[in-house]
């Protein structure tokens, strides 16, 4: 059930990434990292990065590397702090989006990061409601 939900969210993010510059993929990865805490999130980051590189004509692997490092940092934080909170999802998505949009030279980076962080909270709440407040959802 959780797999279907994640696949649907991933497909939504892929579709929306073609028409907007808001990096929804970061929000999705933040939510997947804090809720699932599994190694496959790295492969999800790699796949999303590859797709984004292809549609924006960047060198392949560039976005994937940035997203993978982001997931790694989240996993490191998970050892020290309670990450399954709205505040953590919001802050991590906001700052990661800010860095991502700055690296790739986008416009209105603060506003876009804010919108992305709010959407990440929405993804988090949706998944949380669907899957329940378990520490490690399989």
């Amino acid at each position: 059930m959780s797999a279907i939900f994640v696949i649907l969210l991933t497909l939504f993010v892929i579709a929306v990434s073609s028409v907007t510059t808001i990096p929804f993929s970061i929000g999705l990865l933040a939510v997947a990292s804090v809720l699932f805490k599994k190694s496959w999130v790295f492969f999800l980051a790699f796949g999303l990065g590859l797709f984004l590189d292809l549609i924006t004509l960047r060198p392949l692997g560039y976005t994937g590397l940035v997203l993978t490092i982001f997931v790694f940092v989240l996993f490191l934080y998970e050892r020290k702090f309670e990450t399954q909170t709205i505040a953590f999802v919001f802050i991590s998505t906001f700052f990661a989006s800010l860095i991502y949009l700055w690296i790739f030279n986008f416009q209105q980076i603060f506003l876009q990061s804010l919108v992305n962080a709010l959407f990440a909270i929405l993804f988090f709440k949706l998944l949380w409601l669907k899957l329940g407040p378990r520490s490690e959802i399989t």
């Binding site: 510059t21 805490k37 790295f42 492969f43 004509l57 060198p59």
Partner: protein, 264 residues
């Protein structure tokens, strides 16, 4: 709470894979793979783009669209008339003319125009379905009718990225219909900058490209319409005057463009 610690090997594997692919891609060893993958992703991209273009709050009213097209045609005729007037004057002076190089336009469909809020905020880049296999090169001008849309900033085998004239990184030499020269700069709104204080520019005047085609035939051809002047900022204490320029192109609803290919 039980903590997972087995993420480090996965991170190392994925990071190594990314670095390997990035290195190969930068050295141009993955062209065939990216060309193959692009075909799949461009279908997703163009389908999503078309769906969004059809959404009621994005697609324009038909009547407004017709009027805008008509306005664009009339402005193109004015620009043509000005160009012909100058050409005629030059011919009269020299009694000869150099034949212009053959020009042809390549039609390209827009498959992606990512913006902050689709349909509301304008994009700064467009993705078109033509690339290196169609002989497109970085720096080629992209037009719609006689209006400059932007220039090609990146190319891959099947796709190209177009940097539109509103983009902050975009600047080039332009002139008004009366021949006053300045520099067009993007950044949300178009501005005609670096115009000498002694020159006269007025609201409503057309702004045209001055042209910067290089020896390979790549660049912006002269006399393409950039837009019209909507306001002029002239302060006696400044070194230059500037004007705000409005493009006639509606970048939000654009679905087809033409690449200006000039053969030597």
């Amino acid at each position: 709470m039980k903590r997972k610690t087995g993420f480090l090997p996965a991170f190392i594997v994925v990071a190594f894979l990314c670095i390997l692919i990035l290195t190969l891609s930068l050295f141009g060893n993955l062209k065939s793979l990216s060309s193959f993958l692009e075909k799949g992703t461009s279908i997703i991209q163009s389908t999503t783009f078309k769906i969004f273009q059809k959404l009621p709050f994005i697609s324009q009213d038909l009547k407004i669209k017709e009027l805008k097209d008509e306005n664009l045609n009339l402005l193109n005729k004015i620009a043509d008339y000005e160009r012909l007037k100058k050409e005629n004057s030059a011919l009269s002076d020299q009694f000869q003319t150099s034949y212009p190089a053959s020009i042809h336009l390549l039609k390209a469909d827009i498959i992606g125009a990512p913006s902050f809020i689709p349909g509301v905020s304008g994009p700064s880049k467009l993705i078109i379905n033509k690339g290196l296999k169609d002989n497109l090169k970085v720096g080629m001008a992209v037009v719609i009718k006689n209006n400059l849309v932007g220039v090609i900033s990146k190319t891959s085998t099947n796709l190209s990225e177009v940097e539109i004239i509103n983009s902050p990184e975009f600047s080039f030499t332009a002139k008004t219909q009366n021949g006053v020269v300045g520099i067009i700069k993007g950044g949300g709104n178009l501005t005609l900058d670096n115009v000498l204080l002694s020159e006269n520019i007025s609201v409503g005047e057309l702004v045209l490209a001055k042209g910067n085609i290089d020896s390979d035939g790549i660049g912006i051809p002269p006399d393409l319409v950039i837009g019209k002047i909507t306001s002029v900022e002239k302060k006696p204490s400044d070194l230059f005057q500037r004007a705000n320029v409005e493009s006639f192109v509606n970048f939000v609803n654009l679905s087809t463009v033409f690449v200006y290919i000039q053969t030597k």
